[in-house]
């Protein structure tokens, strides 16, 4: 045997201690602080891609594309509000704060949503005049921190969203690090400039659904019962959370799965707390159905909505509308490959950049740096968002027509099958080619 010519084993990475894990251990050891980033979970999860529609054939009639009407509008807040919201498309813009986003980005979201005939939403830190001015329909978030909370703005809003949690961090509070606390952000939040701003995870003046019922009454009284009141929850125990939100008096429940994004949260929180959007919808709808409130209390689903198929699938599973955040930012220009050289300088790459908390976003979206923020043209970015929203709506319509539905809300679970056992169990639709719904009695 030639000892100089023995075959060598290849260097082999551990599946458990993979390069990303090793890098994180070294980073943690060097700094002593958890990793913080923006966005939602990056792990592979059962998702809408694991579902397929059963188009019409012999047993169902399709609708003619371009000739036969397929409605897309949605009413939100019909339970108690004197002035419910009517949107042209069931795709809304999720809550994102001025502070996390630049003023230009917030303006662009308002412009795009208004062109598309949908709503946008404030975030932690209050309402800016630009946002109100450019948003035909604006939902005002009511958060635990109450940063910038002002009754005048409450009255200016078209709806109020009481935020209990969000999918990226159910049970967690907000975080806006000092580098993004500019003079304007500091003033709006009544905080010293440059300090790390931590938002509480619990509301300061109510605890639990019984108190929330009284809080919602107060909000209704202050706004003379005009505004729809939403309650937003991160997806964890959707059956019970939705039932309790309904009991507390919500007009609309917003359910955010763990793919939903955040401006800045611990990586460990984003990746390990909460459940996927796909797993959350059916229990939420079940709660509404058990209470006789499905379609009476509207359900908005968010977390990982990317295209019209996702919209159609969410609606088929029982949602009344969806909300987009990450996808809306991408439509504005976030993570654009044209900025690759600048992402490289930040130690990232286009498509993976998530250090939104650092305020160095070369796209001018997740920043308070005036020079960077000025890079985003709110008019052009708003147009891109409007185009994207139109595509989502058209795509959802295309699928609905193929399934023979004259309105997106006529889509139903019966139109769907699943590609995997996991997705079939979560979405409670049959595994494709079978009548088997794992976990459900019977089947066909």
């Amino acid at each position: 045997m030639d000892i100089n010519n023995i075959p060598q084993t290849l260097p082999r990475f551990s599946a458990t201690f993979d390069p990303a894990t090793l890098a994180e251990i070294r980073r943690a050891a060097a700094t002593g602080i958890y990793d913080i980033r923006g966005g939602g979970t990056k792990r592979k999860l059962p998702h809408f891609d694991d579902l397929l529609f059963l188009g019409a054939s012999m047993s169902r009639y399709p609708l003619e594309g371009y000739r036969e009407k397929c409605g897309t509008d949605v009413w939100l807040g019909t339970r108690f509000a004197k002035k419910p919201i009517h949107l042209k498309t069931p795709v809304t813009i999720a809550g994102m704060s001025f502070g996390a986003l630049s003023g230009q980005a917030k303006e662009a979201l308002g412009r795009g949503a208004t062109i598309a005939g949908t709503s946008t939403t404030t975030g932690d830190g209050g309402m800016t005049p630009e946002e109100r001015g450019q948003s035909q329909t604006l939902v005002y978030q009511y958060l635990p921190s109450r940063y910038g909370m002002n009754p005048d703005d409450l009255r200016k809003a078209d709806a109020i969203e009481v935020v209990v949690g969000q999918g990226a961090k159910p049970g967690g509070g907000g975080m806006l690090l000092g580098q993004k606390i500019s003079d304007r952000v500091a003033e709006m939040r009544t905080l010293p400039k440059g300090i790390d701003q931590r938002s509480a995870c619990r509301h300061p003046d109510w605890t639990g659904p019984d108190d929330l019922e009284i809080k919602i009454e107060e909000l209704r009284e202050i706004t003379d019962w005009e505004k729809p009141i939403y309650v937003k929850v991160g997806a964890t125990r959707p059956y019970y959370d939705v039932a309790l939100a309904v009991k507390a008096g919500a007009d609309v429940v917003v359910l955010d799965g763990m793919q939903g994004g955040t401006a800045a949260t611990q990586e460990v929180f984003i990746e390990h707390v909460g459940i996927p959007t796909l797993a959350a919808i059916r229990p939420a709808v079940q709660a509404l159905q058990d209470l006789g409130m499905h379609r009476k209390v509207q359900l908005i689903v968010s977390g990982g909505i990317r295209n019209g198929a996702d919209v159609a699938k969410a609606l088929a599973l029982g949602a009344d509308a969806v909300a987009i955040g990450t996808a809306a930012l991408v439509a504005l220009g976030d993570n654009d490959p044209a900025l690759e050289a600048e992402y490289r300088k930040l130690g990232s790459t286009a498509g993976a950049y998530d250090d939104w908390h650092e305020g160095k976003d070369p796209a001018g979206i997740t920043t308070q740096d005036p020079l960077l923020a000025a890079r985003l043209d709110p008019v052009a970015a708003g147009r891109r968002l409007a185009n994207y929203l139109a595509v989502l709506t058209l795509e959802a319509q295309t699928i609905a027509r193929a399934c023979g539905k004259s309105h997106l809300h006529n889509l139903e679970p019966e139109d769907l099958v699943a590609l995997t056992i996991e997705a079939a169990a979560m979405a409670r639709v049959p595994l494709a080619g079978t009548g088997w719904i794992p976990g459900m009695a019977g089947g066909m």
């Binding site: 700094t31 002593g32 602080i33 921190s145 109450r146 909370m149 002002n150 009754p151 005048d152 409450l154 000092g178 939040r189 009544t190 905080l191 010293p192 440059g194 300090i195 790390d196 931590r198 509480a200 300061p204 003046d205 109510w206 108190d211 009284i214 809080k215 009454e217 107060e218 009284e221 202050i222 706004t223 003379d224 019962w225």
Partner: protein, 227 residues
């Protein structure tokens, strides 16, 4: 003087009428009879009017008040004067939890005691409590002044930002990053002004001042245990 009797009228009648008052002209005083602990009484008022509630109020009385003077001749439930922007709220009895929570401005006077979380996340309001306050008061308090003539419970001023706290009695414990501070001349003057505004006859020199140690304003690994 307008009198509204809640044994015959509804809360909606009351709040709707108060919301319809002119925002920029004084209005004759209002008296509310038989409140019977109802919630959200005189909530969302934005007018220079004095409203006297003859009895106990439930949650969120005078919530988000602007301009008005609201007097509660009884006890107040959770969140009295929450998120008040301006005006004055005077509780002649005791107040429950979260009195003055997140309030941005105005003056809240409580003749009796206030329960837990008094002044939580306060953002500019002045609060004067003639009795004692419960635990976790002034949690994450951002701005404004909290004056307590009695004692303070556990974890006073936990994670406080820039609120000034003055306590005449004892403090059971201070929360994270809340520290005792020197009472300088400007603080004595500030406190004297607050006591006068609340109609309290007390000497500022009898009080101790507490505020932020500012060690948690930006994360440092050596402070991790305080988070």
């Amino acid at each position: 003087m307008t009198t509204l009797d809640l044994s015959t009228a509804t809360r909606r009648d009351l709040n709707g009428a108060l919301h319809a008052l002119p925002k920029d002209a004084p209005t004759a005083d209002w008296t509310v009879l038989h409140p019977e602990g109802q919630h959200a009484l005189a909530a969302g008022v934005n007018a220079p009017v004095t409203v006297t509630i003859k009895g106990h109020a439930g949650y969120y009385c005078a919530g988000m008040n602007q301009q008005a003077t609201i007097i509660i001749e009884g006890n107040a439930g959770v969140g009295v004067a929450e998120n008040m922007m301006s005006g004055t709220v005077h509780v002649k009895g005791d107040a429950s939890q979260a009195a003055g929570a997140t309030a941005h401005g105005g003056l809240l006077v409580i003749d009796g005691n206030a329960s837990a979380r008094c002044g939580i996340s306060m953002k500019g309001v002045d609060i004067v409590v003639k009795g004692s306050i419960g635990p976790m008061s002034a949690f994450m308090a951002q701005s404004g002044r909290l004056v307590v003539l009695g004692d303070a419970g556990d974890a006073l001023g936990d994670s406080i930002y820039e609120t000034h706290i003055y306590v005449r009695g004892s403090v059971k414990s201070l929360g994270a990053d809340c520290v005792a501070k020197e009472m300088r001349a400007e603080h004595l003057a500030e406190l004297a002004e607050l006591l006068a505004a609340a109609g309290v006859d007390a000497r500022p020199e009898e009080f101790s001042r507490y505020g932020s140690g500012r060690t948690l304003y930006n994360f440092h690994v050596d402070n991790a245990g305080a988070y």
